[in-house]
Symmetry: C2
Subunit: 157 residues, 2 copies
């Protein structure tokens, strides 16, 4: 999986959180995950097809998403409510859309499914893929989140 495929997702995560939630996210060093698992409290997942097949996930700790969604709506958020789940779906969609737009400009066309949001304290996410999974850890002033991208390039578009 090429770094050119990962960087647009990293940039999109920063951009979407800044624009939608006035939240500065600092990216740590992306790394290839061997065991392809992440643990968190709420996760948005979106499936990807096209010139590569795979999946994108974004997993938040409860504290981080309460702050992000609180900033989006200008009110104090406590707990992972239905409103929070919808916001995570929207954030996932926007990161996917922003990254795919940039990749499309480079001639690399990806399509995205509809997002699914999973909530539950300390759930585990595993991308089932023959190819590698790249994890990008992020820090905000109110906790951490991780973006995972697993893409396998197709022989034909």
């Amino acid at each position: 999986m090429k770094v050119e495929l990962v960087n647009p997702f990293l940039a999109a995560a920063i951009n979407v959180l800044r624009t939608m939630a006035f939240t500065e996210a600092r990216a740590g060093k992306p790394f290839i995950k061997k065991d392809k698992k992440a643990v968190g409290d709420v996760t948005g997942i979106i499936g990807i097809t096209g010139q590569a097949t795979g999946s994108l996930s974004i997993t938040f700790s409860q504290r981080c998403i309460e702050n992000v969604v609180g900033n989006m709506f200008g009110e104090k958020i406590e707990g992972i409510t239905d409103e929070v789940r919808d916001a995570v779906g929207e954030i996932t969609n926007m990161i996917s859309g922003d990254a795919r737009r940039k990749l499309d400009e480079q001639g690399f066309n990806l399509k995205a499914s509809i997002p699914t949001v999973i909530s539950g304290s300390g759930h585990i996410i595993k991308h089932i893929s023959p190819g590698p999974c790249v994890a990008i850890p992020f820090e905000t002033d109110s906790g951490s989140f991780v973006v995972e991208v697993s893409l396998e390039e197709q022989d034909s578009g």
Copy 2:
């Protein structure tokens, strides 16, 4: 969302569990979910694009998946291990593949992403879609599972 789009997923779930895991699954009546949430212990999710965009999920109770995977491997399974997660990914892939093959014969082309598997006691799955989400409840001799399909037809393929 047309019933013709749902039935192949229902048939595929029965077929895959029978073939791979010697498990007879009895389908209950499919229903349209208003709140689009399911609760379970392990879930496989796959994104769908093409002539419709959406997602497919299959959510098992722990007892049900222990039995299904135990049958697949011919050994007693306890707990949701990495082996179980991989098996749920494989089952999700096969249900998606079987259903899409049947739909393709009817001239309806869908593509699928790579599956993601979520585990964690009592996690909640929510499909974020403008369209409806159809849930199909299943019973086996060792507990229940639910297949959810959320597909929004596209104007152009």
